[in-house]
Amino acid sequence: MTDILAVRDVRKTFGVVRAVDGVSFTVRRGTITGLLGRNGAGKTTTIRMITGIFMPDSGSIEWHGGTDGRPFGDRIGYLPEERGLYKQMRVGELLLFLAEIKGCRPADVRGKVDGWLERFELTDKRNAKVEELSKGNQQKVQLIGTLLHDPDLIILDEPQSGLDPVNAVLVRNLLQDLRHEGKTILLSTHMMAEAEKMADELMLIHRGKVVLEGTLDEVRASFGKNTLHLEFDGDGAFLETLPQVRRASIVNNAAELSLAEGADPQDILREAMNRVRIRRFELAAPSLEQIFIEKVGEETLLHEEVAR
């Protein structure tokens, strides 16, 4: 697979804040690449540089997607983090306008608008004003506007925000379909579970720098199978206090335990069996969330302590 986009050592400073500090990565054609990071890590600024909203202070952004006569900007579909819709306009007109500013002729996309509205169950909202729509429906309209002009690269900044679980699944399936159609998707999110389900490749940005990148498997493998996934009945609070456990995240009746160096999982199992009823016991790679906290959290905690 070939790269469609290469970001090379881009930097962007706002006043004294280094929003993006030497970020490099490539996006491979036909994949979903997840751009991960906390709020304010530099994800949105990076995306704005790719979409040409900001010029990078230094570094370059190269398009390798070949050419079909359309300018680069028209081959990108961009869904901004916050809704970017004219609230006073009617849904149908707005979608035509969004396609028009991407260089499409209104006559050519009219049929597509109908198709998309149907797919998103919005056909009856065609003549409604955007401001009359629910937040979730506005998000769906925005997503249609991102896809109408048949972009090669689809850049989505937090596409799941404001969606209920049903619509979230709808969007997730849509993204999978698009990938199968050969589209490339760059997906920015701070929801690790989402990224884990969707992304082929990951990029973790922290404080304006890429701190981790690779395929999901690569990333996980690099952390080894040193994590215990437990499900149990009873009070699992004690798990955190075990000497073999380096860090624990316990939610209700499930726990994800990072093991200390040289720790034997069997010891933990034995200890746990004495206290709670075990329903699941698995030694596996850490979840993306754990990796994220491992990579970012400790450093952040450290920083905050130094600051204190």
Binding site: R48, T51, D74, I76, Y78, P80, R83, G84, E100, I101
Partner: protein, 437 residues
Amino acid sequence: MKKMLAVLKREYLQTVRRKMFMIMTLLMPLLMAGAIFIPTLMIERGMGLKRIAVIDGSGQLRDAFFEPETKNEEADIELGAKRRDLPQQIATEYVPAANAKLDDTAKPYLERLKLDKGANKVDGVFLIPTDALTSPKAQLRYFSRSATDFVTQGRLSSRVNRAVQQYRLAKRGITANEADELLKDLDVESVQLSKTGEQKKGGAANFLVGFVLTALLIIPSFVYGLEIMRGIIQEKNDRVVEVLVSSMSPSELLVGKILGVAAVGLTQITVWFVMSTALGTYAGAMAAFGGMNVMQLLRPSTFIYFFIFFLLAYLTYVCVYAIGGAVCNSDREAQQLIAPITMLMMLPWFLMAGILTNPDSGLSVAFSLSPVFGPLTMYVRTLVAEPPMWHIAVSIAVSILTIAAFFWVTAKIFRVGILSYGKRPTIPELWRWLKVA
């Protein structure tokens, strides 16, 4: 270009469909018509009735306040004598006081002046001293509740003075008829002479029409300038701007918006001209009734210049408003920033009376050739005078250069400002934006 047209089209359609456009389009001509017709109506119908008590110490000036046909009536006190030539009707209550002390006679009337309402209320008390006919130093006095009732005062005093003059002439053996003839004022007919020798009636009507046309020229610029500013701020707040700027250059976006709203303005004035043409016949008839021919002022050149200077004024102001929109984050913030600038840009409007009466004065010429103020002032000059062609050419050229410069600055500030969501930039920051962008 295609994208710019898409923005233009959206901007145009969205604005034209708004209620505000309908209201502006229908209401403005009504307001303007009101501005023409209400003064005419006031002259026609008067501003209401004023009751004035005239205390005549000389006892001989009754005729000055009543028409000859009311002379034979018995009563000395006469209410409701109407004067069609006065801006308001004056009902005069005439009190001869030749044999009494003037102040004593006046006292009850001055008391009645203090009343707030009722049949006894008077609006003014006019005192004519005993020696009014004999002493050139005699002083007339007018008491009223309002300090600004100089119109009534002027009317009353001119009546008395005319009578006093007639009395003095009569003393020298000149009869009343002869005196009327001697004292007759001559009418002035005001004529505007063009360079080609064409003669036209001028005067007050031209002044009024000048005001109205200038208002029509300038008001849309400010109204739609504000529209653009608010539109940009809303796009920023709704984050639409991110989608727009990732699809086209900020200059394309800016040009599309400005031309879209310009098209709205042109649509509006076209509607107005159609309406005014329909109304023109009626307006012409009305004005002709008052002895003035408004239509002679509305030459073809009036309309051509109107379109030229409308566009120049419009584009100048709109650029300024677009900058306001780009650097501010809320309507309120923008209003505060733009209010003093608007006042400055409207300077020619505040000086309009001076420019209309002295269209070729140094100040008028300077304003008409300067940037920003040029279009409005020059239009007024073409309307009421005949400025040299080179003045018009220079004014247009200066305006075009100004617009080009403003546009350049606006595009640069727009580029940076449209995506800055933080606090409003300071002047040094703006300067940096200009250099960096």
